[in-house]
């Protein structure tokens, strides 16, 4: 049960950071999301995001920061095995699920639904 509690608490806190960025600065939601994604990539660059995932599970993989982490992670893995060019070839290696699912389901959504207003 404690893993749910930790996921709840850590995920919730990342959302609070996002909320404070929105309420205390003049950032639009788009600015907040890009900031968090960049933060995820940078934290992973310092090797800090993986320990967070080990600790919080979905609390760290569900927020958008993990998208930055996955982008960096893919790039870095490939870079280690194939050198500099690996950065380019590896970036989307691990984020395929998120982006593909969003495109496919988003498209299907547009086939099925009409905006409700």
């Amino acid at each position: 049960m404690s893993e749910y509690f930790i996921a709840f608490a850590v995920g919730g806190l990342i959302c609070v950071i996002g909320q404070l960025l929105m309420d205390l600065t003049k950032m639009t939601p788009a600015h907040v999301m890009t900031t968090l994604v960049v933060a995820g990539a940078v934290l992973d660059g310092f090797g800090l995001y993986d320990p967070l995932i080990d600790f919080a599970g979905a609390g760290a993989t569900v927020p958008i920061t993990s998208f930055g982490h996955s982008l960096y992670h893919g790039a870095w893995q490939e870079a280690e095995s194939h050198g500099l060019i690996g950065i380019i070839t590896g970036i989307f290696e691990l984020t395929s699920a998120g982006i593909s699912a969003a495109i496919v389901f988003g498209f299907l959504g547009a086939l099925v639904f009409k905006p409700k207003g």
């Binding site: 929105m22 003049k26 939601p29 905006p115 409700k116 207003g117």
Partner: protein, 338 residues
């Protein structure tokens, strides 16, 4: 009485008996649940108004409002000389496509939410000057067409601040002509563009209040009048926030607005409807003016009303480029009695 049409650079006095012969409004479901619902001519139970896009729904409402106005004026559409209209969408497509349906000579207007009174002032001037016998003027807005153009897709989960406003889904139109016993248009004050540096596109009330203050001050001093000379002074769509600011600004100028002042954006929705600070959009002042206010004037409840429609003249491009929001307000005086 001075029968000069030009009172000042900004204020006009109509020299002949300019009347609103008839008016019509058509609204969406949320407005149809508001406190003025019983006075609306057409209420749609769904936001699409049985059309397949938001834009077509808005056009349908505008056409209905226009046709109701023509019918109530007991005219044939061939007798109408001019269609003066505008809306919030790019290239005022609602007004233009409605013009295509109505088959009338047309002049398109854009004054954002001030278009309602811009249209009424110009219609009265055209009739007064003899260029037209009957002018049809109207404007419209639709919550979803405005959201998707100015803000986000309608299903996007962005959080709006408490001072945001809710764009009214609805259209209002009126026929202006000479003679009869309808509400009489006596004066108009054309506003200047005022920009006091508000940049937040959600904060329209604060952005527009100074424009309304400028036009009101000009109007009162040009005609040597006070708020007490009116039974009702109503602004277009300042919402609760802009309403409070305007009262405060006018107090500074030495005018006590309290007893007679209200705002269309606060009248069109009930307090329990979740519309943040209140209604906005071209449709807001048009719908309230061309239903409730016209009815009250006809019934003699109001003898003299000043409607000041306020418009925020920005575009998605201008605010993304960090520009502040220029605003304008136009006032028209409508009187009752024969």
């Amino acid at each position: 009485m001075n029968l000069h049409a030009r009172v000042s650079r900004q204020t006009w006095q109509f020299t002949s008996d300019i009347r609103i012969l008839g008016s019509g409004v058509s609204v969406g479901p949320l407005e149809g649940k508001g406190p003025l619902a019983s006075e609306f001519d057409t209420i749609h139970s769904d936001n699409y108004a049985k059309q397949d896009s938001w834009e077509k729904a808005e056009q349908r409402m505008m056409k209905e409002a226009a046709q109701t106005a023509i019918e109530k004026s007991k005219l044939q559409s061939e007798q109408v000389d001019m269609w003066l209209a505008g809306d919030l969408l790019n290239q005022i497509i609602t007004a233009n496509y409605t013009g295509r349906e109505l088959d009338l000579p047309m002049l398109g207007l854009f004054g954002a939410c001030s278009t309602s009174m811009e249209g009424l002032a110009l219609a009265s001037a055209l009739v007064d000057a003899g260029f037209a016998d009957y002018v049809l003027t109207g404007c419209s807005s639709h919550n979803s067409t405005a959201e998707r153009q100015f803000r986000y897709p309608t299903e996007y989960g962005g959080q709006k601040p408490p001072y945001a406003q809710w764009t009214v889904t609805g259209a209002g139109a009126a026929i202006v002509g000479k003679g009869g016993d309808g509400p009489k248009v006596t004066h108009a004050t054309i506003g200047k563009v005022v920009d006091l540096g508000i940049k937040d596109p959600f904060d329209m009330g604060s952005a527009m209040a100074p424009a309304a203050a400028d036009t009101l001050t000009t109007h009162f001093s040009d005609l040597d009048r006070n708020p007490d000379d009116y039974d009702l002074i109503v602004t277009g769509d300042l919402g609760k926030v802009g309403y409070a600011i305007l009262k405060d600004l006018m107090k500074d100028m030495g005018y006590n607005m309290d007893p007679v002042y209200t705002d269309c954006g606060m009248m069109i929705y009930a307090p329990n409807q979740e519309v943040f600070s209140g209604g906005s959009g071209c449709g807001c002042s048009a719908v309230v003016t061309y239903s409730h206010i016209m009815n009250r004037i006809r019934h003699g409840a109001f003898k003299r009303v000043l409607v000041v429609a306020t418009g925020a003249l920005f575009s998605p491009t201008s605010f993304q480029q960090g520009e502040s929001i220029p605003c304008i307000a136009h006032g028209v005086v409508v009187e009752g009695g024969a």
